[in-house]
Amino acid sequence: MDKKDKLGIEIKSIMEEETLDLTLSQKAFDNIIQHRKKSLREKIQEFINKEIEIPVAPAIIGFAALLAVTLIPMDIFKSQNERIIDMGGSYVIIREGFEVSKK
């Protein structure tokens, strides 16, 4: 175990010494950067900074529809006006929107 560690340290030291004056071209550098394994954080960063295209009209319509469905009650446009009439001694309530026939 110790032998193996010593060998590793020695190889690393030789590598560092031999590559001390090595200069990489920008292209090679970019290539390495591009192909190296990315960390999760970098992946998230990359994702959230990604630009996407959104069609404006469907987005606005969708949002408005969602808002309307959520906020406005279903029967809001159903007329609830009521009139009370006396019909031969009975109290009769005429509800607009419920009339059975019209002239």
Binding site: E51, I54, P55, P73, I85, S90, Y91, F98
Partner: protein, 723 residues
Amino acid sequence: MKIKIKIKTLIFAVFILTLTFIWAIPTATLMIAGYLETKDSEKASLFYEKYASYPTTPSIESKYLHANSLIRSFNKFTIFLTGWGGGENTSPEDIEKAKQILMETLAEKPVKNREKDYYIKSYKMLLDILIASGDAETLQEWIAFGQKGTDERLVYTADVYDGFLHHVNGEGEAAKSIIEKYDETELKDTIFYVLKAEIALFDGKYEESEKIYDNIYKNNWRELGKSFGSGGYYRNDWFDRFMEDFKGDNVITGTVTCEGKPMPFVEIYVQEAKEGFSFYASGENYVAITDVNGEFKTLGLKDGLYSVGIGVDGSVLANKAFQGSTMQYVELNGGDGEFHLSFRNTLKIYSPEPGEKLSGEEFTVSWEEIEDAAYYKVEPVVFYEPFGERGISTRIYAKDKNGEYKFTENQAVFNINMIRNNPYITVSDSDNGYLGAQAVLGIFIPGVEYPIVVNAYDENNNLITGSLPLRSYYEHIPSITAEGSLNEGENFIYRKNYPAAIEYYENILKENPDDIDALRYLTRIYGIGWKEGEQNFERAFTLGQRYTEISGNRELLTNTLGGMNISEIKENRENVYLTLKEAMKEPDFDNYYFLSRYYIAVENYEGAREALQMAENVTDNLIFLNMYFGDYKEAVESIKSERFYRSRLSSNKVKDAIEALDESPPRGDELKVFNDFLLKLINGIPYGETRNIYNKTVKQISNSNLKTIIDEIYLDRNWDLEY
């Protein structure tokens, strides 16, 4: 068009949106609901319902707010025998919905204090609804539910409502023991004090009760409007009125039933009979409330003639017809009185259905059979304004195609032409007081909707039940609309351009003197007068008699001229005589009233009396004529008759006075003054002269019995209210 957006911006937007949907939208919905509620908008409940539907809103609170918005108030629909109305227009559907919501709410387990507050509010509201809808059985079940609870406020609320139930049932001691149990606790709220005040009131401790109500009014008057399912606990002004006008030692007992079953928690009101009918928009203050057996006993009342009324939640009446009572007024004269009032379930009309169109001439009305009915009448409803606002209306009986109007079977077939040919309504439209088109054209004008009502009567002509509930929705009422169109002349009438209609039909008669439509319409226009002062009786008789000769139909003339007043009959006595002579060959019950007026016009009062004895109902004039002829016994019999519509004149006070006249008849000048007064009544006293005639008459009379009769007539006819 597209926009470029970074995903992190999009995520931020979604976060904001989520926040909007979780918090901002429910909050906005609640605010809108609250705003609409302050504006008394019916739509408030829709927003409360929406608010309750969000998964993020507090469940118990939102459901309570929704239920509360459906009910709004417990103001009662007030029914006196002389009229009815008022109350909150909560539909039976909304009452049921509110009950369901509250029952669901009460199945939840509140944890936070705010939730517990709304839980108690929901519980209280459910009990209030059950009282308002007269559901004593379910009320008892829910009181038991509360009493088994672990929350002390829940148990307290259940106990107070239990106390109310005991109080209503006349179990005073049990009710008082609940008051004592909580009197020293911090749990007391408005309902506790209302119950305490009511117990004191019905114990005869008026001052104590008034004091408690004064305190409630000072501290929390708003709560009074929703206590124990009633809006009638605003008693602060009531005490003065009651002490001054009503307080005494006699009580009225009685029952309120529907189909013979008790109606619990019905409020009982009294008014002085002379007041006619009025009700307070915020609800009356009751002098009794029915117990679980539908029985009541009022507070002590002083001697007098009372109009007794009831108050119930309007939703209760959606399927009930008012059957009436054993009497119109209750008389207290040194003793107690009784008053019974009953409802029946409405009878069902199978045909027609609401909004039915009629393309042919005939239609069938069929209805549910009522076990104890002797006969039925079919009564189309005629609105004075056929289209539009549908204001004043009247119900008329319809004759079937065989000319019958009392039906023993449970169906009848009608021909609209027959009904049109015999118009027997005289309606004036609001515009300029012109004669309404339907008075000339008859009913079932093409395109006009006519609701159909069926009533069932017993053998004494008392209404048993009918198809029209005391309170209903128009769209539920069966109706007939005839198809077709009006011709040119009929359009003149329809538009109330009567001069043009007269010219049009007179021109037709020049070419064809036997044109049946022209004869019919002109008889009506001339006979009734298309506006005041425009009658031409001579022409109406001429054309009407020709119409009778051609058609064999005598009814047009009698229907048209039956409305003539005494002086008009006097001026046209020959023609009226001829018309009646024809009509009496096959007399209709209406003809007897017309005949009696003819005899009055020619001063044959004995003839008038005989004619009225043959009529379907006993009228005031028959009673006056009996007294005029000194036949006091017969006058009392007329008053006692089942056929007399009960009024002030049917009170024991009047009967006793007339019976006393029989034993000791008035003589001399006083009798002459009294008989002159009766004759004036029989002939009809012009509006505006009534009070003068009364004052002049009573000044000349010292006989207490005669005075009593005259006074009661004065009050019965509301002459004291004339100006």
